[in-house]
């Protein structure tokens, strides 16, 4: 039985091109980048090449990329690291995190509350899962240390108004962390990480030059702003953006935190001083190369985004037509291009997933990290769904190479599974 993988927001398979690019670094070029002999230097060169390629794609300088062991570590480093550094710089013990953030962000904020006496405000969402700028402004204080929001929700796919949220947070001098684990590869991070606009992902030098010319101050030269906030001149730029490799076709165990404004972060992992003292530990060269290639592939495929979104809309319409009672969750149009989520009142999410799995379709009820628990989705609860409906969540997420036929088969199998369970 061919498996139709519609759970790629949980993890995507490692792409062959990615594996092939990683292969030399798992075989002949096995040096430790910190070693000074020839093998070590070659490993260091490969690592820096991967870093530059990722930086070029994201429109930042290579030095602004910190490789991590994955998205969770990147989110932890962004939330905890930026906050602790902000506290050192004299900001107040107050942070704002979105109510529908990934657990990596929510639990990091809880840790700050528990161990650092930080007060955590939760930014609520509307029934489509969207944060509102007005609500954020009401929560912000003059000394707020950090605001952490996601670029898109992992469970319901809703895109957040990140640009305005970042501007509002930066207006009071707060650091901003953006969790872009779900959107990396699919779309440019909004707002753009350079001052030159989303299209200007040129060479690093050109990017910095363009930002300077635009008068918004390139990263690192943000001293033009308030002395308190490094890079404060970049009113619309987040200070940290988390991405993860395995959602893109790179292996698990590699991610990155992008630091577009050069704001200081307090490291989580010490010892060795790798990654410019921001993240210690022997560098995962093969993983870094894999991440670079996966991002490049995603960038190439992004050109078909309109077609990919059209396939999504067709899928949504078909599901709504074929599965009685099914309702789309999240924003109907402002959502991830290859992501569709539903509730099917009256049919438990988990039995439906098992029935689908038996028929060769892999999907999920929401976050993989929360899988296996019987709790209703906290995201749907925050959006105002009653608990019994929030227990019926279904999430379908796919890749650029998923075909129209596969999606059509999945709808058919879903309709049959749902009908069987209703009897």
């Amino acid at each position: 039985m061919t498996i139709i993988d519609l759970d790629q927001a949980a993890t995507a398979s490692v792409r062959r091109t990615v594996l092939e690019a990683m292969w030399p670094h798992l075989t002949g070029d096995y040096g430790n980048p910190s070693s000074t002999h020839a093998l070590g230097r070659r490993a260091a060169d490969a690592l820096e090449d991967a870093r530059s390629r990722i930086a070029r794609l994201l429109g930042v300088r290579a030095a602004q990329i910190v490789f991590t062991s994955g998205g969770t570590e990147a989110d932890n480093l962004g939330v905890i690291g930026l906050t602790l550094a902000a506290l050192t710089a004299g900001r107040d013990r107050h942070v704002v995190v979105g109510a529908v953030e990934h657990e990596a962000v929510l639990a990091s904020a809880d840790h700050l509350a528990r161990w650092h006496g930080v007060e955590v405000s939760r930014l609520g969402v509307d029934e489509l899962g969207r944060y509102s700028v007005g609500e954020l402004q009401a929560l912000l204080r003059p000394g707020t240390a950090l605001v952490a929001v996601q670029h898109a929700n992992n469970e319901v796919g809703t895109l957040q108004p990140v640009d305005s949220l970042v501007r509002a947070a930066r207006a009071v001098g707060a650091r901003v962390h953006v969790d872009a684990v779900q959107t990396a590869g699919w779309m440019p991070v909004v707002p753009p990480l350079t001052g030159a606009g989303p299209g200007a992902a040129g060479s690093t030098a050109a990017g910095a030059g363009a930002a300077g010319a635009a008068g918004s101050g390139a990263a690192g030269s943000g001293a033009a702003g308030t002395a308190d906030v490094p890079g404060a001149g970049a009113a619309s730029r987040p200070d940290a953006v988390a991405i993860s490799g395995h959602k893109l076709g790179a292996p698990k165990g590699i991610g990155a935190l992008v630091l577009p404004t050069g704001a200081p972060v307090e490291p989580l992992i010490h010892g060795g001083g790798q990654e410019r003292e921001r993240r210690s530990g022997t560098e995962n060269v093969a993983g870094a190369v894999g991440l670079a290639v996966a991002l490049e592939l995603a960038q190439q495929e992004r050109e078909d985004l309109v077609a990919i979104a059209a396939r999504r809309d067709r899928f949504v319409a078909d599901v709504l037509a074929r599965v009685p009672g099914a309702a789309l969750t999240g924003h109907p149009s402002e959502r991830l291009p290859a992501h569709a989520s539903f509730v099917v009142p009256g049919i438990g999410g988990e039995p439906l997933l098992i029935a689908l799995d038996d028929r060769g379709v892999i999907a999920s009820s929401g976050s993989a990290c929360a899988a296996g628990r019987d709790d209703p989705s906290p995201v749907l609860l925050a959006m105002g769904y009653p608990a019994d409906v929030a227990r019926t969540a279904l999430r379908f997420s796919w890749g650029a190479s998923t075909t129209q036929d596969e999606l059509a088969s999945a709808v058919e199998l879903l309709a049959r599974s749902a009908a069987a369970l209703r009897v």
Partner: protein, 436 residues
């Protein structure tokens, strides 16, 4: 063709492990997903966890997989420290009005003292120094002896200081020193610590897969491991966290494992387990083979380069063997990693030696790769009592499972020239230029 003698920095992945890793990478699935692909990944992950656990005689649930050795050490050291500060305060009261799950206020936290030998790896040094600078930890350095082993008498003295053991958060120590290869008195220190209820974190990254570590002494709470030192992938490690020991996590969100959040790298774990199995399948034979090659290298160096000093327990073993004191030599050898030989060349800079040998086709190290490139004398050698000048001429040769007699002989043939040139360069650099 490079002769790679820097296995302590990272050991290349053997073809067998590469095969296992590649096969595992081609699996789809997040181990946390409940569907079949997720469960297949979960099965692979749990199988790997069990195999790693078996090499240490612990249960699978005690193996917490991490993103590498440095993360494991940070989790072991910081996690135990925070847990000791969050736990029952013993003779110190937690503020009664504190929220139920809030940590006590900084000043009220119990057990601030961390005991740490001076010759630890930088992962530990930096983690502890960060705790001291930011989290109210009080660091008590422990002295090491001339071969780099923890001095138990100083550990005992440290336990008794201040308010006594009740004020101690933890002891953290290496199983084997990563630079000079000396095995540490883990069992003795753990017994002493256990008698006072003090948890012990052991950084076994340099020792794991080189010498048998099972069964773990009862007083050891946590053990750090890294895959790439034994031919597994970079970016995979583990903290063995014994039952009854708890840590405050370093990475939060998802709670996939005891004490560690983040999507689990099932493929990395499978490759780690394969490397771990391979290292332990014939650990005694492999160790004996490496020790024999190391002894050959040591004897050759002593014969050809009498000015060179061999350091650590392996160095003592070589000197005793050269003098015909076999029993003494064997006793020292039993206290050394089989595949590591550390030496210092008087009057030379280790970096010059390394570069000259690199040009001659040998990859070696001046010590820990993590501080390579930084022209500072090794803190390990200084802690062993070497003067700064002597410590500068350091070189570490570390052998792997595929190192041959021919590799060792080739290095022995190349070494005299490199030593001579590095010594004359060192001399020239130190000779004051007159008449300028």
């Amino acid at each position: 063709m490079v002769v790679y003698l820097d296995h302590a920095a990272g050991s290349p992945m053997p073809a067998s492990i590469r095969g296992a890793y590649l096969a595992a990478l081609e699996h789809v699935g997040n181990p946390s997903s409940i569907h079949s692909a997720g469960q297949a990944a979960r099965g692979m992950l749990e199988g790997a966890r069990e195999r790693i656990a078996a090499t240490l005689g612990v249960d699978a649930v005690e193996v917490v997989l991490t993103g590498g050795g440095t993360e494991a050490v940070n989790l072991g050291v910081k996690g135990l420290f925070w847990q000791r500060q969050a736990g029952a305060a013993g003779d110190r009261a937690v503020a009664p009005d504190a929220a139920p799950d809030a940590a006590p206020a900084r000043a009220d936290r119990p057990r601030p003292r961390i005991l740490m030998p001076r010759a630890e790896h930088h992962a530990t040094l930096d983690a502890v120094e960060w705790l001291a600078a930011h989290e109210g930890a009080q660091l008590r350095w422990l002295e090491v002896d001339e071969v780099g082993a923890l001095r138990l008498d100083d550990f005992e003295a440290a336990l008794a200081e201040g308010a006594g053991p009740v004020d101690v958060a933890l002891l953290t120590m290496l199983a084997a020193n990563n630079e000079v290869g000396t095995l540490q008195p883990v069992a003795e220190a753990a017994a002493l610590a256990a008698a006072h209820g003090v948890p012990v974190h052991v950084d076994a990254i340099a020792a794991y897969g080189q010498v048998p570590l099972a069964p773990l002494p009862a007083g050891v709470s946590a053990v750090s491991l890294s895959a790439h030192k034994l031919g597994g992938p970079v970016g995979v490690g583990a903290l063995v966290l014994r039952r009854g020991a708890d840590v405050v996590p370093l990475l939060h969100g998802g709670s996939q494992q005891r004490g560690r959040s983040g999507t689990m790298d099932a493929a990395g774990a499978a490759a780690f387990a394969a490397a771990s199995d391979e290292a332990h399948a014939a650990i005694a034979e492999r160790a004996a083979r490496k020790a024999q090659l190391r002894d050959r290298l040591a004897a050759g160096i002593l014969a050809a380069l009498p000015q060179v000093e061999l350091r650590g327990a392996a160095g003592r073993a070589a000197a005793a063997r050269a003098a015909g004191r076999v029993a003494e030599a064997d006793a020292w050898a039993a206290r050394a990693l089989p595949g590591t030989l550390h030496l210092t060349v008087p009057g030379a800079e280790g970096d010059s030696l390394l570069m000259l040998l690199d040009l001659a086709g040998f990859a070696v190290s001046t010590g820990s790769a993590c501080q390579a490139g930084v022209p500072e004398p090794s803190h390990v050698l200084l802690a062993m009592g070497l003067h700064e000048q002597a410590a500068r001429g350091a070189l570490r040769v570390s052998l792997g499972p595929e190192t041959t007699e021919a590799d060792v002989d080739a290095l022995l043939a190349a070494l005299p020239d490199a030593v001579a040139r590095a010594t004359s360069a060192g001399l020239a650099a130190r000779t004051p230029t007159l008449g300028r």
